[in-house]
Symmetry: C2
Subunit: 472 residues, 2 copies
C-alpha cells in the first residue's frame, strides 16, 4: 500500500528522533522547504521525501537501514540528483539518504592505478586528483562537474570516452556497500584481476540503489594520454555518416570520442548559434583521437581514411584549443538549444549495434514523419549510443499521446535491431514500463529473486529499475 | 548425502534411456573406459562421472537439466578440461556435460567488434577467425590452443595480455544460458553499452558452471595492434624488478605483457636449457609493447625509462621473430622445467596490488626458508598476478604437511597485502577451503542465496567455488 500525500509529510516523533540520533547534528532535514529540492532529479519527476538523511560515515548505514527496515521506511540513495530517469526520486513517504557529504578521496595510487573514494566525491574532483598522478577515471558523463561517483556507479555512467575506455562497470574494482537487509559487505578486489566468489561488484553497479547502498568504491584508473586531436567530419546524408562510423570502428585506431549529430540536431544548433556548417550538411561527426604524440599523425591518418567516403563534404582537424572548444560548443549547445525548440523533450539514450546505425536513423526519420513528432538525434556513435529526443508541446491536443506512442515505436525499433533501451542513463522510473520488452521473463524472475535476497523488505529504492511485478 | 563409489558406476536404465534420447545417437558415453578421461582436469584430481553427455544444440539443455533435476543428478559442465582447480572434475556419481561438440562461430562483425560463438569453440580458433577481420579476443591463457571459450567464461580466464586488454569479464557482452532450474535465459547485450536490468552476464562469468550452463556467448573483440616489440630486462635483485614493474605501470604506455620470473624460476630454466642469462641475475622481466608502428619507438623509450633503475643489469630488445621466440621460450620452459625439479608442484595464481610485489616476493622467500619448501615464482607482474609454485616430494616424510602449511601462510600473506587468492584460474575444488578467508560472511551468504535462486536443487557443479556451508 502506498502512503498518501499526508502520510508523506508526517515523520513520527520517535522515528524522527532515532534518525536524528544516527545522523548527528545537522544531519537530518525534516522541514518541507528544506527537503523539497531532494525530491527531484533531471527527469522532471518530483516526490517530496519524508526526510533527508545526510550520511557522513559508512558506520551510520547499517543502523540506519535496520531502523528503516523496522519501520518499513523506503530509502532512496542520492548523489547530486543529476540523473535523467527518476532513479533518485524518492518513493512516496520515503527517506532520501544523501551521500553528498561523504566526499573524501581516501587514496590514489599510481602503480596500482586505483583510487579509493567515498560515494559523494564529484566525478570532476576525482579527475583533477587523478590527473596529478597522470591518471584519469574513464566515465565522463556530461554532468561530470556536478555528479557524484556514487551516482555514476548507480547508473553505470559513461560518456563520450567510453568508446575507447569503457563504462563505470569496466572501471571499478571493488565496493563497500550495505544491503537492504542492513549487512555491510565488501565486494571485488583491489587488483586488476580476481575470480574468487561471484561478481557482486558489477551486480551492484547499474542497480540504481535497489540492492545496496554503496559506501566506498575502489576505482580502476587509466593513464592520461599524452596528446589528443579533434576532427570534424561533415556528411551529405546520414547513411554516409553511419558508414563512416562503422568504418572507423572496424579499423585499429579506436577514437576516444566519436560523437554524432543528425540534420535535426544541426538545425537546432543553427537556430541559436552559428556553427559555420553549410545547410547541405545533413550529419556531423566529431572524432577525437588520443595517444602518444609520436604516433598521432599516423593515428589521425588512419581515422581520416575510414571517415572518407563519397558522402563526405568536409573533414578538418582543429588546430588549437580554441577550435576544439568551438567544436565541442556545437555539440554541447544541443541540449539547451532543444529547450527552446519545444516546451518538452523526451530524451532517450538507446543503443544499437554500430552496424545498424543507418537503419536506426532512417527508421527514426520515418517514425517522426508518420507520427508527426519532431525527433532530434545525437550521441555517442562509436558505441551506437544515440540520444533520441522527441520534442513536443503538451498544450497541443493529442501531442503527448502521439509522442508516447512514437516513443514506444522507437523502443520496438531499437530492440528489433538488436539494441538496448538504455546505454548509460539507466531505467529509474521513466523506462520501467518498457524493460520487459528487452529482458526475458526468466531473467527478470532471477533479478527479482536477487532483489529479494539483498533487500527482503523491499525498502531500497522501490519501484525502480525492474518492471512492476504482476502481483504488485 | 554423497553417492558411494558403486552408485557412481551405475546409471539406472530408465535414466540412461532418457539421457540418450536427449543426446541423440553417439551423444552419451556410459562405458567406464570411455568416460574415464572426462573425470579429470589439470588439477590432478579425478572422479569418474556416471556418464558423459555431449551437447550439440542449446535446445537440448533445458530438457537435460529438467531430467537431472528430477533425478537429482549433478551436472558438471566441461570444455576441454584444461583448468587447474578441479572446477570441471565431476561430482561423485554426477554427469559430465561436454560442450566440445558445440564449436560453431556463428558470427564475427568488424564494425560491431563482436563475435557470437558456441561454448565449445577453442580460444585459438576464435583468434584465427577474428584475425581475418583485423580483430582479436583479449583473453589468452597459455592453454589457448586447447581450451574452450566456455571454459574461459567459467573461470574468467586471462593471460599475459590482460594487463592491457582486460579479462574475460571485460571482454564479454552477453550470454545465453540455462539455469540450474532449467530456465533458458538471455543476459547482457550485443552492444558496448547497456544498463537495463542487473548484470547477470558478469555474475555468470567466473561462476564455474555453478549457476547456469552457458550455451552461447557474445564476445567483445579488439582491433589487432599494428606492431609489437619485445624487451628483456635483467635485474640484480627482486626489489629492483618489482620497482620497475611499479614504475612501468605508473607511466602512460601500458605494455601488452609484463611477465616476471624470480631467481628460483631462472635457476629452474637454467637446469634444462641455456637462456643465456648470467648467474648474478636474480629477476627477469619480459615486456611487450604493441600499437601503431609510428609511435613504437617512443613507446618503447617510455617503457625503457621506467624499467631502468640502479638494479638493472641489462635491457635489450628482441630484433627479430627468432629472438622474440627465444624470450618466450625461456618463459614457457618454466612449467615443464619444474616438473623435473620435484615430483609434485602446487601451482597457485594469487594477485597482489602491483605496489606490493616486492613485499610479496620477500615474504615468499622468507616462508620458503622458514618452512623448508622450495618456492618458484613467475607470472603476470603488470597485474600483480604471480604464479607461486611450491615444489615438493610427497615421499619425504612430513613434506606434504609442511607444504600445505606453507601454502596456507602464502594465502594469509597475500590477503594481508590487499590481494586475492585467484587471478585467473578460479577456485574449483582446490582453493575452496581458503575462500572464506578472503570473502566476508555476509557476501558469502548473498552468493549462496544467489546460487539457490539459480539452482534450487544444487545440481550444478556442487562443492565448487563457494566455501562449504556449515550445514553441509
Amino acid at each position: 500500500m502506498k502512503p498518501t500525500a499526508s502520510q508523506a509529510s508526517e515523520l513520527p516523533a520517535g522515528l524522527r528522533r532515532d534518525l536524528s540520533d544516527i545522523a548527528g547534528p545537522g544531519g537530518l532535514l525534516t522541514d518541507p522547504a528544506d527537503r523539497w529540492p531532494y525530491g527531484y532529479d533531471n527527469s522532471q519527476r518530483h516526490i517530496l521525501p519524508i526526510a533527508v538523511f545526510f550520511a557522513t560515515d559508512a558506520e551510520q548505514i547499517p543502523p540506519l537501514v535496520a531502523l528503516c527496515n523496522a519501520h518499513r521506511l523506503a530509502i532512496t540513495a542520492r548523489g547530486r540528483g543529476t540523473g535523467t530517469t527518476g532513479a533518485s526520486v524518492p518513493a512516496p513517504g520515503g527517506l532520501v539518504v544523501s551521500f553528498e557529504r561523504m566526499r573524501q578521496i581516501r587514496r590514489i595510487d599510481a602503480a596500482d592505478r586505483l583510487a579509493v573514494v567515498e560515494p559523494g566525491v564529484l566525478n570532476q574532483t576525482l579527475q583533477e586528483a587523478a590527473a596529478e598522478h597522470g591518471l584519469f577515471w574513464p566515465p565522463d558523463p556530461s554532468s561530470a562537474a556536478f555528479c557524484t561517483i556514487g551516482g555514476n556507479l548507480a547508473c553505470n555512467a559513461a560518456g563520450p570516452r567510453a568508446v575507447k575506455y569503457g563504462t563505470t562497470r569496466d572501471a571499478t574494482l571493488g565496493l563497500h556497500a550495505v544491503t537492504g537487509a542492513g549487512a555491510a559487505i565488501r565486494t571485488g578486489v583491489a587488483t586488476t584481476k580476481g575470480v574468487v566468489g561471484y561478481d557482486l561488484t558489477r551486480l551492484l553497479i547499474g542497480s540504481e540503489g535497489t540492492l545496496a547502498l554503496i559506501t566506498e568504491a575502489t576505482l580502476r584508473l587509466t593513464p592520461l594520454p599524452e596528446t589528443k586531436r579533434t576532427l570534424r567530419a561533415l556528411y551529405r546524408d546520414i547513411e554516409a555518416a553511419a558508414d563512416a562510423v562503422a568504418a572507423i570502428m572496424a579499423q585499429p585506431v579506436t577514437p576516444c570520442a566519436l560523437e554524432f549529430m543528425d540534420a535535426a540536431a544541426l538545425e537546432s544548433v543553427r537556430r541559436y548559434s552559428d556553427p559555420g556548417i553549410p545547410d547541405a550538411v545533413r550529419a556531423l561527426l566529431m572524432i577525437e583521437v588520443d595517444g602518444p604524440a609520436a604516433g598521432m599523425d599516423a593515428a589521425v591518418a588512419s581515422i581520416a581514411r575510414a571517415a572518407r567516403n563519397p558522402g563526405l563534404m568536409d573533414l578538418g582537424t582543429a588546430h588549437d584549443a580554441a577550435e576544439v572548444e568551438a567544436l565541442w560548443k556545437t555539440r554541447k549547445a544541443l541540449s539547451p538549444a532543444m529547450r527552446h525548440l519545444a516546451p518538452k523533450k523526451i530524451n532517450e539514450d538507446i543503443v544499437v549495434p554500430v552496424s545498424q546505425l543507418a537503419v536506426l536513423i532512417a527508421g527514426l526519420e520515418r517514425l517522426a514523419e508518420e507520427r508527426g513528432i519532431r525527433i532530434v538525434n545525437y550521441g555517442h556513435a562509436g558505441n551506437g549510443n544515440i540520444h533520441v529526443n522527441l520534442l513536443l508541446d503538451p498544450a497541443v491536443p493529442g501531442e503527448s499521446e502521439r509522442a508516447e506512442q512514437c516513443l514506444s515505436a522507437v523502443f520496438d525499433l531499437v530492440l528489433a535491431l538488436g539494441g538496448t533501451l538504455s546505454g548509460e542513463h539507466g531505467v529509474g522510473l521513466v523506462k520501467r514500463p518498457f524493460v520487459a520488452r528487452e529482458l526475458d521473463p526468466a531473467a527478470i524472475g532471477l533479478m527479482r529473486a536477487i532483489k529479494r535476497q539483498f533487500d527482503p523488505n523491499g525498502i531500497l529504492n522501490p519501484d525502480k529499475g525492474l518492471p512492476e511485478a504482476a502481483k504488485d
